[in-house]
């Protein structure tokens, strides 16, 4: 087995254990509600419902899905079996819609919003941070406090302010949704234009906050690298500044990839709340609806999906990181 395979297998096993724990938490926490969770949940959600037949049917669906009469171990096995078959249960709020169907309709919106936003924010943030550290002076004095301030604004706060300024006051962009509500999703210029117009504000608010956090991290890393011995040595050797800047940038950049892996969970969480502000038809908005209706299957479907995607993103980044960082490669060789 070569060094990289070993690294891969090791990481894979760790992420597998983590995944199991994430699934376990998703299973156990909602079941910690005192008493019979099904009857509590059903009584909460059927408040105001008068049709006893419907209530009974709802109750029975969830009794079967939760398998509440069986021991906890068996319940967990049923849960995992259903998961593997892609069955996340039935939604309370939108009974009898399947949670999987709801999530499937939301995923493209969330991915289309968050993936580009986080990547663009990350790249711009790193460039700005590196420039601030390199140029110093006025540039640093401006970028740094601004980045720090933006970073202290929660994602959704910036989103609300942008909604107010650009959506309500200036009326440049629509207020909510993923496309104009009178439209039916189809492939046409009008529809795509509408989607882009709705996409702009949530996209920008995620990008801005991401830039803030990343610029701070990159600035710190770059200053650290700029003060290190190899920079001084290269300068004494008379190597061109642009070349040194390249070395520094590369060295400071690598830890930022791990940084991205580690902060991706927080970013996704923040972006989800951003979606709520704009009523963007993604996972975040569904989660908000689910929480308001105490729709437990949908809540746990959302949390599970988010946890799994964050784990996957992390895993992918670590695998890529193992490829590109020579220091990790060296460590693998030594172990070998």
């Amino acid at each position: 087995m070569n060094a990289y395979t070993k690294y891969f297998v090791n990481k894979f096993l760790w992420y597998f254990v983590t995944l199991l724990i994430a699934v376990g938490l998703n299973f156990i926490l909602p079941r910690l509600i005192e008493g019979n969770p099904v009857s509590i949940i059903v009584s909460q959600m059927t408040q105001g419902m008068t049709d006893s037949d419907t209530i009974k049917r709802v109750y029975e669906t969830f009794m079967v899905e939760f398998g509440i009469d069986k021991p906890l171990g068996t319940q967990f096995l049923i849960y995992v079996k259903n998961l593997l078959m892609g069955d996340l249960g039935t939604s309370f709020g939108l009974y009898p819609k399947k949670v999987t169907d709801i999530l499937a309709s939301a995923v493209p919106w969330t991915v289309g919003l968050q993936l580009p936003a986080i990547l663009v924010g990350w790249i711009l943030g790193n460039v700005l941070g590196a420039v601030a550290a390199y140029k110093k002076g006025v540039f640093d004095k401006v970028i740094f406090p601004v980045a720090l301030f933006i970073n202290s604004i929660p994602f959704f706060t910036l989103a609300i302010i942008m909604l107010y300024v650009f959506g309500l006051t200036l009326k440049w962009f629509p207020l909510s949704g993923g496309y104009d509500f009178q439209m039916i999703p189809h492939l046409s210029f009008d529809f795509i234009f509408s989607v882009i117009r709705h996409h702009t504000l949530p996209f920008l608010s995620i990008v801005l906050v991401t830039i803030g956090g990343q610029a701070i991290g990159m600035r710190e890393m770059s200053i650290y690298e700029l003060n290190s011995d190899y920079v001084l040595y290269s300068k004494l050797l008379g190597i061109r500044d642009s070349k040194i800047a390249k070395y520094v940038f590369r060295n400071a950049m690598l830890p930022q990839i791990t940084g991205l892996a580690l902060s991706i969970g927080t970013m996704v969480g923040g972006s989800l709340i951003c979606e709520i502000v704009f009523s963007y038809p993604g996972i975040g908005t569904w989660l908000f609806t689910a929480i308001r209706q105490l729709d437990y299957p949908l809540i746990s479907g959302c949390t599970l999906l988010i946890a799994v995607s964050v784990l996957l993103a992390n895993f992918t980044l670590e695998i890529i990181y193992g490829f590109i960082d020579p220091r990790i490669k060296a460590a693998q060789m030594e172990d070998h």
């Binding site: 760790w14 994430a22 938490l25 926490l29 970073n151 202290s152 200053i223 709520i276 946890a307």
Partner: protein, 278 residues
């Protein structure tokens, strides 16, 4: 200790951050003494714009938003501080144990830490909050605290591992001091600045977490916090009503408080960690 403080006072970033934070805390504690009204009492019609009587206007129920804001900031800072204390304590204990004791315990604790760094704490926060029926602001603070310790644990572990084999620690070991004593007298003083910085950051992130979770409608009951104010503004469609005073002041308050905490942290970082001084 007095020495560190006298150095800290020379850092403009730290001083600005600390002054802003202390002024905010003073304001929110003194104002309710002057205006002794109940923040939840109705004073005007819904969404009245700011005027001479109500500095920040009224919310959807016609309540005095400025007074609500004062109570909100107070709750948010308290939640942040409690969450910060809990997260820092757990992180410190985990980090010290795995860094100093090493071996098998280190393996297990590091594994737990790594696992909980990757699983988004936001998700665990939602799952726990959904499962608990009666949440006071204290309960929310505790939940935030027990979901946000892994970063501190990792950092403390790294620091402790590098200290473990220093000469003064070895001397203490040879002199037959107990492990507790060595940790308290030989390790802790060296990582104290680090722990304080971690605490400041944890407090800031605690305030942000409270705001996010309350925004989702999973915040504490029977109280006002900055996140709850934002949640009300959104649920009752203040932006659509054009009532900027219902959410912009709360949003800015969150930003200003966390900004001052970050600023304090950066100031301390530049002093205790000379390598990153620019």
């Amino acid at each position: 200790m007095t020495n560190s403080i006298s150095i800290l006072i020379k850092s403009p970033k730290f001083v600005i951050g600390a002054v802003v934070l202390l002024l905010t805390i003073a304001l929110v504690n003194i104002y309710p003494l002057i205006n002794t009204k109940d923040p939840l009492s109705m004073e005007a019609l819904a969404f009245q714009p700011p005027d001479s009587k109500l500095i920040l206007g009224s919310d959807n129920f016609g309540r005095d938003l400025f007074l609500e804001l004062m109570y909100g900031i107070k709750t948010s800072i308290r939640v942040g501080l409690i969450a910060g204390v809990i997260a820092t304590t757990i992180g410190l204990i985990f980090g010290l144990a795995s860094g100093y004791i090493g071996g098998f315990i280190d393996d297990i604790l590091t594994a737990i830490t790594n696992i909980f760094i990757v699983i988004p704490s936001f998700i665990i926060l939602i799952l726990i909050s959904v499962s608990i029926n009666s949440r006071s602001s204290l309960v929310t603070a505790i939940i935030i605290g027990i979901t946000s310790w892994p970063w501190t644990a990792r950092a403390v572990r790294a620091q402790t591992t590098s200290l473990r084999n220093r000469d003064h620690v070895n001397i203490a070991k040879i002199s037959g001091h107990s492990t507790t004593r060595i940790i308290i007298y030989e390790i802790l003083p060296y990582i104290a600045s680090y722990v304080v910085m971690a605490f400041v950051l944890q407090t800031a992130s605690g305030i942000l977490s409270e705001a996010s979770i309350s925004m989702l409608g999973l915040g504490p009951y029977n109280t006002i916090s900055l996140g709850i104010l934002m949640n009300w503004a959104l649920v009752f469609e203040a932006p659509v009503a054009g009532a900027w005073w219902a959410f912009i002041p709360a949003a800015l308050s969150i930003a200003i408080i966390t900004f001052s905490l970050y600023l304090m942290n950066t100031g301390m970082d530049e002093i205790f960690n000379p390598k990153i001084r620019s």
